[in-house]
């Protein structure tokens, strides 16, 4: 018993080996969103550690590697080596959420493909702006399908393998059907019969975004 308590007391006061301290600094600098000061490091590391020495060892270890330990003001950070900056260019891609009009148009194409522009408008109840279709084409999420064999031979739209890839689908047929959407709670239930649609609370939300569109796009 005396032995274990002695051990514990010792480890309480004894700093971890230098190599271990170096590991700690490595992990903290890697994971931290900001450069970390020596005093911050000291506060996080076990008592008696020497962060300055650990940082110095780490800095030496990374000399000539793909990343370096650099000093930023009073603090330390890990940064990629400047000569490899060309590899990083792809890293700064900005992602934005698709607009509601685009996502709805995309959903209709996915569920109804091949589908014409007129059919999309019929389902959405509003006209589809050219920009929306262009954007989806540009993203390579949709492409032109075969022309419909009806008067005017309108073009149809279908989704691309790119689309399937992005949404993790093996085929568009894997999309859940209406029944499944309802079971998953994604479809609102029908209002009780006889209930005026006007009195629906969703009405307000709809007039805000959906309704003006209904008239504005009239062409």
């Amino acid at each position: 018993m005396s032995e274990t308590s002695e051990d514990r007391t010792e480890s309480l006061f004894e700093a971890p080996p230098v190599a271990e301290q170096e590991r700690m600094v490595e992990a903290v600098l890697f994971a931290s969103p900001e450069p970390v000061s020596l005093s911050d490091l000291a506060a996080r590391m076990p008592h008696g550690s020497d962060p300055a020495q650990a940082v110095e060892l780490l800095r030496k270890r990374y000399e000539g590697r793909g990343v370096r330990v650099v000093q930023v003001g009073e603090a330390w950070a890990i940064r990629t080596a400047p000569d490899l900056g060309f590899l990083m260019q792809k890293e700064t891609v900005e992602t934005r959420k698709l607009s509601r009009a685009a996502i709805e148009t995309l959903a209709i194409i996915a569920y109804h493909q091949p589908v014409t522009r007129a059919e999309i408008e019929e389902i959405r109840g509003v006209s589809v702006s050219r920009g929306t279709i262009d954007q989806l084409l540009e993203m390579e999420w949709i492409r032109l399908g075969r022309r419909r064999m009806t008067p005017g031979r309108p073009v149809t739209f279908v989704v691309t393998p790119h689309f399937l890839d992005h949404f993790g689908l093996e085929s568009a047929r894997d999309l859940p059907g209406l029944k499944e959407l309802r079971a998953a709670g994604l479809l609102e239930n029908r209002p009780p019969p006889g209930m005026l649609p006007i009195s629906e609370p969703r009405d307000e939300e709809e007039t805000e975004s959906g309704q003006p569109e209904l008239f504005a796009d009239e062409g």
Partner: protein, 263 residues
Amino acid sequence: MTDNLFSEEQVSVAERLAAEALIVDVDGFEGPLDLLLTLSRTQKVDLRKISVLELARQYLAFVERAKALRIELAADYLVMAAWLAFLKSRLLLPPDPEEDGPSGEELAAHLAFQLERLQAMRDAAARLMGRDQLGRDFFRRGQGEDIARIRTVTYSASLLDLMQAYARIRTRDEFRPFVMDRDKVYTMEQALERMRSLIGFAGSWTDMASYLPEGWGLDPVRRRSATAATFAASLQLVKEGHLEIRQTENFAPIHLRRKDPET
């Protein structure tokens, strides 16, 4: 033994408390299977060696007890009770060669399998959650790189977005009257535009109906929309001081006349 546990006379206080705790806690169970799994623990044996007959007895006793305490059990608990009563009789009676269907042993084996599988999944879930986790035990790079930034905008959407969008459209579809077919809707803006160009000619009182756009007077639905829009547009023009409006009595035709700026 278990029958004793639930019979009124000779239960110890502790046993009674335990039994009641089980019942009061019935909401805490996730259905009959979960309850059966809990009950099976009192047997203190490997789930593979469990006595299903004993378990059926315990469950039925539990349901009886709940009834005695006037606790309402959900339907699926009662369905399970009925099934277990059936299973119990199958297990106790010698097999009837005339009977079709699975034997009591087969049914019992399946129930034992279900319990073992559920327990296994719970253990697996616990082991999964006990693993080192990202953001708790190990960490990703905390700092984005800020060199050589070439900004490309990509648009993203998740599968959930897609499904929700579709659900939204289809839900809207079910409220068909609300959506309104565009070809049957005449907007006030349209009416206003039409009236502005026509009103200059209305020197004398004219029936508003004559201002309806061509082709909108026959179909009642279109007529209604066009009338409403034209009326609203007329009111707007009155407000702007371009028009006078009159109606001699209720439901009589509405007449319009140009209002000259000076008068």
